[in-house]
């Protein structure tokens, strides 16, 4: 018996090593280890043997079966690898053909991207973002903001008026000329202290390379009991650093606006020639002055606070600053956009460059 097992083993081992394909190997497995094969049958017949022979024969048959199983698995793995290699060799493409493009990347408009960037800076400085109507009453746009009744901005040559009956409280209806009306509306809603910015679309009757009849502003307002002009400077400095780079400086220049007193214009140090020669008379951005005007601002005029006195604002007790900046202006400076009208042409070749 034991001899026969040895013969089977030798024969099977030789055949398995000689197998050339996984299919041939499978045939061998059936032939030597399948249900009808000799070796498993020998094993099943062990019980009928002499007790003396039983142990040795059983052990030999079991060992042989395990050895053959291992051999078949190993040989199978070898053959599979070879067959996979052959298959892949036939599966070849021209990788120099054009790629399948992924879904294209969309873009936010530069004005949206810039507005969001500015919003995020002021959120970080503790301001909340509020918005208001674009079609507005004269009351909010001019009267409550301390504009003289003869102020030229009220003229029909400068401001768009809407065909609508005048409101007994709000007066005539116009397209807001700045985001400042929300100063009043916000203070009517929220008692001091208040710190808000107001992004939005505004309108003026002007159209040339440096003016479009619609544009975008961001208003800022901070009112409390101890908000100072120095705080305005610090706030604008933080803004300028965030938008134009950490090396920027801010300069305040006295100016006049009806709704602030004192009023200042803010300049940011030129980021194009800052590192070059001290004078750089040819700098195309700042024209050699070293400064770029970016916005108008000032301390809220007591008359403006007086307009919302009944909402808790006392010009003797409360003070604060306000500013208004042009989103287009900031975007043009930062991204070297030469003409305001490009923003509203919406040429895809422009839109793809930003956002």
């Amino acid at each position: 018996m034991i001899e026969r097992i040895g013969q089977i083993r030798a024969e099977a081992e030789a055949a398995i090593c000689a197998a050339g394909t996984t299919a041939g190997l499978e045939e061998l497995r059936v032939r030597y280890l399948g249900r009808k094969a000799e070796l498993p049958n020998l094993l099943r017949g062990v019980a009928e043997l002499d007790p003396q022979e039983r142990g040795a024969v059983g052990r030999a048959a079991n060992e042989t079966r395990q050895a053959l199983e291992t051999l078949i698995t190993d040989r199978g793995a070898q053959l599979e690898l070879g067959e996979l290699r052959e298959r892949l060799a036939g599966d070849r493409v021209d990788v120099t053909l054009p790629a399948t493009p992924p879904a294209p990347v969309g873009r936010l408009h530069l004005l949206t991207a810039t507005r969001r960037e500015i919003e995020d800076v002021f959120c970080g400085l503790g301001f909340t973002v509020v918005e208001g109507p674009e079609v507005e009453f004269v009351h909010y746009n001019f009267d409550a903001l301390n504009h003289d009744p003869a102020h030229p901005a009220r003229a029909r040559t400068d401001t768009f008026y809407v065909e609508a009956p005048a409101d007994p409280h709000g007066g005539e209806v116009l397209l807001r000329t700045h985001t400042s009306p929300m100063q009043i509306r916000a203070m009517e809603q929220q008692p001091p202290p208040i710190a808000i910015i107001v992004p939005g679309r505004v309108y003026r009757r002007d159209s040339d390379a440096t003016h479009t009849p619609q544009f975008h502003q961001i208003e800022g307002l901070a009112v409390g009991e101890d908000v100072t002009l120095a705080d305005l400077k610090g706030t604008l400095l933080a803004f300028a650093k965030a938008i134009f780079g950490d090396e920027r400086e801010i300069r305040l220049r006295p100016h006049f606006f009806p709704f602030t007193e004192p009023s200042v214009e803010a300049d940011v140090s030129c980021f194009m020639c800052a590192d070059a020669d001290a004078h750089a008379p040819r700098c195309p951005l700042c024209k050699g002055t070293g400064w770029l005007e970016i916005l108008g601002s000032g301390m809220v005029d007591p008359n403006v606070l007086g307009a919302v006195r009944e909402h808790g604002y006392d010009p003797e007790r409360h003070q604060g600053f306000a500013f208004g900046l042009g989103v287009e202006r900031i975007a043009m400076l930062k991204h070297a956009v030469p003409d305001l009208r490009l923003f509203y042409d919406n040429d895809l070749r422009f839109l793809r460059q930003f956002g």
């Binding site: 674009e134 065909e163 202290p193 009757r205 159209s207 220049r253």
Partner: protein
């Protein structure tokens, strides 16, 4: 305002160059637009000459050959074409090498065979006047060879100042000098009106009577009378100064009025007294529809809000705005009434803008000048009239109305100055600055008591105004940069709705769409182009009263317009495949005083939805399902539960349009543009639109999504195929499945549609993925089978459908 530097130097001469001066002015609130040059670029080569001989040119009738002494020993030959040149004259000469105002360099010239070594100058050639009648004749006392720049303002630096509307006092040279004084500390000369040569005689001068019928329009009216006036040219220094300041010289009397206005900031008017009918002027409000001819030769129609000056023959001057033709000073004038008045600012502003007549005078008067300024201007003008026109003053000064009011006193508290600015400014420094600006300060317990000078009375009325004065001269520049303490108790952040708006925009950008920013303005035919019938909300247009053009005369009532405009613009530039969106306001006239504005999100797709490639040479075209996909993506990103149903809009293809709803609230529409509307923008191929009311969508979004356990007890997935009539919308089948299945149906969605012979004429087969799930147990077939049976029964009973296969 154009300020010749030499004129400023009459009153103040700071020890800094012109650029530093400009910087200092800019940093103290007077913007300098630019520094320009008037006259010749440099005075080199311009000298005083003496004409020794002037002989006719042998070959040219109109030319003279002159021998001119210019102080360099040898007289030189100069050919001159002026008719008035003659031997013995003292003249202005440009020698070869001199550079003229237009930049040309003078050389030797040969004129009809005679070599000319220079040029005898006329006043316009140096910017000293406008006349070209002949050469300038100078004072014979001047020696030949004297540099011309020493005796005439031939080369002037001019500051172009931008004066803010609150500072009419700086529309005068002396007002600017006062600013320079405060800004630089340089000494300021006494005001040019500190001595009044006309302060003689009591009461009004003889020969003129003035009645002010409307004192509210004319707070003060002063007049002086001059006799024996000789009208003629002004002297060169005066003409040169006016030219450098941007005013054209006319004649000596008119030039004096302009000069005094530019110096004092207070406009004047000269009447020919003999042309005032009846020797009597009446200041009164105009009648409605009354007419008068102004100096520019135009007939003007007036109204009751305007103020005029009339004589016996009617209106003769539009008060404070423009003179009339009848009473102007002419060549033969000998008696002059010099009027200096103040007018009501708002009335002047209104008159000037109604008539479109903005003048140097109205620009000053509309700011409301102080009555005290009248006599300052009279004093300066009187001196010049006496010096330059040979006139005699008729004693007395006509003076009607208020001579001015008591200066108001304002307390300036030290604590308030530092508290508002955020930096300490010593009381003594505040006093120094205010005093330099003409305020009068006296010590008070907690600060200063400050009297406001008349020229600042209009705009300095409160403590805050005084703080601005101190700050702009000395403070703003050196301010520390601090951050305000956040005392609101709240972090800075976007509101929930603002964050969701960003998410909606980002979703579309993430899907490959480019954002546009369109015009709020639209043409009034927008509703027509969008096929809106009468009564459609698109017709509730907000109309502008004063548009810049008809194309931009209303506000958009739909975002479809601006999206289509941008799409057509790009199509015309070779970009036929478009995926764009816009986020912004849409405006409709509503019931309230202000129109309704809602924030819309719109998207437009047209052409191929993907770029064609070798692997996909013919990608699908944008259609109703492509924009529906955008709607699902946006609302999905916002987590807004919504349903979809067919929804027609006039501008959409009636069979390819749908609307999204949250409950019964319509959130928006999507679909393919109606071909007739598409044609209005020149589109032949389908254009698909999504228009979403973002405000409503955000209102329907959950503020905070709450956790749902979807893993402890997994769901069971099954498919269901049913055959229904082809006019049953797929959404209705899915909705019925969900409703009938109750809470065990977690999900039901159509994934396949089939029409054809196998299902029969007029029938559609819909296949749905169903997912059953319970929160408290793993479902078995025994749980699901009865639910499935209920669903099949409901489809049969309610929709006439049947289970397929």
């Amino acid at each position: 305002m154009q300020l010749p530097l030499s004129w400023l130097h009459d009153y103040i001469r700071p020890e800094i160059d012109v650029r530093q001066l400009a910087d200092r002015l800019a940093m103290t609130g007077t913007e300098v637009d630019r520094i320009t040059h008037h006259g010749v670029p440099a005075a080199d080569g311009f000298v005083v000459g003496k004409v020794l001989t002037a002989e006719p040119h042998p070959d040219a009738d109109r030319l003279r050959v002159c021998s001119v002494e210019v102080g360099d020993g040898e007289p030189r030959t100069i050919v001159c074409g002026a008719p008035n040149v003659a031997a013995g004259q003292t003249v202005a000469v440009a020698c070869p090498g001199a550079v003229m105002p237009d930049g040309t360099k003078l050389g030797k010239a040969k004129l009809r065979g005679v070599v000319s070594l220079g040029m005898i100058l006329a006043e316009d050639e140096l910017g000293l006047g406008a006349g070209h009648r002949g050469i300038m004749i100078l004072d014979d006392a001047l020696a030949a060879g004297t540099p011309l720049g020493d005796v005439l303002p031939i080369s002037e630096e001019v500051l172009e100042l931008e004066i803010t509307p609150n500072r009419p006092d700086c529309l005068g040279v002396y007002g600017v000098a006062r600013e320079v004084h405060a800004a630089t500390g340089a000494p300021l000369a006494p005001a040019p009106w500190s001595e009044d040569p006309g302060a003689i005689g009591e009461g009004a001068p003889a020969g003129i009577e003035v009645v002010v019928e409307s004192p509210e329009l004319c707070p003060r009216f002063t007049g002086r009378v001059f006799e024996g006036v000789t009208i003629g040219d002004s002297p060169l220094w005066l003409k040169g100064r006016l030219m450098a300041a941007g005013q054209r010289p006319i004649n000596n009397v008119v030039d004096i009025t302009n000069y005094v206005m530019l110096l004092t900031g207070h406009p004047l008017h000269a009447f020919d007294l003999d042309r005032i009918a009846g020797g009597r002027l009446v200041v009164r409000a105009a009648g409605d529809g009354e007419t008068m001819a102004t100096l520019d030769g135009q007939e003007r129609i007036l109204d009751a809000g305007m103020c005029l000056i009339a004589d016996g023959d009617g209106p003769t001057s539009l008060a404070g705005v423009m003179g009339g033709q009848r009473s102007e000073v002419e060549q033969d004038t000998t008696r002059v009434l010099l009027e200096v008045a103040t007018w009501d600012g708002p009335s002047i502003h209104r008159t000037a803008s109604r008539l479109g007549l903005r003048s140097e005078a109205s620009a000053r008067f509309e700011k409301g000048l102080a009555p005290e300024g009248c006599m300052e201007a009279q004093a300066v003008a009187t001196r010049l009239m006496l010096e330059l026109t040979g006139a005699r003053l008729v004693p007395g000064t006509l003076d009607v109305g208020s001579a001015g009011v008591q200066a108001p006193v304002i307390r300036l508290r030290d604590a308030r100055v530092s508290g508002l600015l955020g930096t300490e400014i010593p009381r003594a420094r505040s006093a120094e600055i205010l005093t330099a600006l003409g305020f009068i300060c006296s010590e008070a317990q907690d600060g200063l008591d400050v009297s406001v000078p008349h020229w600042r009375r209009g705009e300095v009325t409160r403590e805050a105004d005084l703080i601005e004065e101190v700050a702009r001269i000395d403070g703003v520049d050196a301010l520390p940069a601090t951050l305000p303490l956040n005392r609101t108790g709240l972090p800075g952040r976007l509101a929930h709705a603002q964050r969701l708006r960003r998410r909606a925009e980002d979703t579309l950008a993430g899907l490959g769409l480019l954002e546009i920013v369109g015009w709020s303005f639209a043409a009034p035919d927008l509703p027509d182009r969008l096929l809106a019938p009468v009564g459609d909300p698109l017709r509730d247009l907000v109309v502008l009263e004063n548009p810049m053009s008809a194309e931009q005369s209303v506000l958009r009532s739909s975002m479809a317009g601006s999206l289509l405009d941008a799409a057509a613009f790009n199509r015309d530039r070779g970009q036929p495949d478009l995926a764009i969106f816009e986020s912004g306001a849409v405006y409709r006239r509503g019931g309230g005083a202000l129109p309704e504005e809602h924030h819309a999100l719109g998207a437009l797709l047209t052409g191929a939805v993907r770029t064609a490639t070798w692997a996909e040479p013919d990608p699908p075209r944008a259609d109703v399902f492509a924009v529906k996909g955008l709607a699902e993506a946006v609302l999905g990103a916002l987590r807004v539960p919504f349903t979809v149903r067919a929804g027609e809009r006039p501008f959409l293809h009636p069979g390819r349009a749908g609307e999204m709803l949250s409950g019964e609230v319509v959130l928006g529409v999507f679909g393919e543009l109606h071909p007739a509307a598409a044609a209005n923008w020149g589109f032949e191929e389908p254009v698909a639109l999504l228009l979403l009311d973002l405000g409503k969508a955000i209102a329907a979004a959950p503020e905070v999504p709450a956790y749902a356990d979807l893993t402890t007890f997994p769901g069971m997935r099954q498919d269901l195929a049913v055959i229904v009539s082809e006019d049953v919308p797929a959404a209705q089948v899915a909705e019925l499945v969900r409703r009938t299945g109750g809470e065990l149906v977690a999900h039901a969605e159509v994934f396949d549609v089939y029409r054809g012979e196998q299902v029969g004429e007029g029938r559609t087969s819909l296949a749905l993925h169903l997912e059953f799930r319970a929160a408290d147990r793993t479902l078995t077939d025994d749980d699901v089978a009865p639910v499935r049976e209920r669903i099949v029964a409901a489809i049969r009973d309610e929709l006439g459908g049947e289970l397929r296969g």
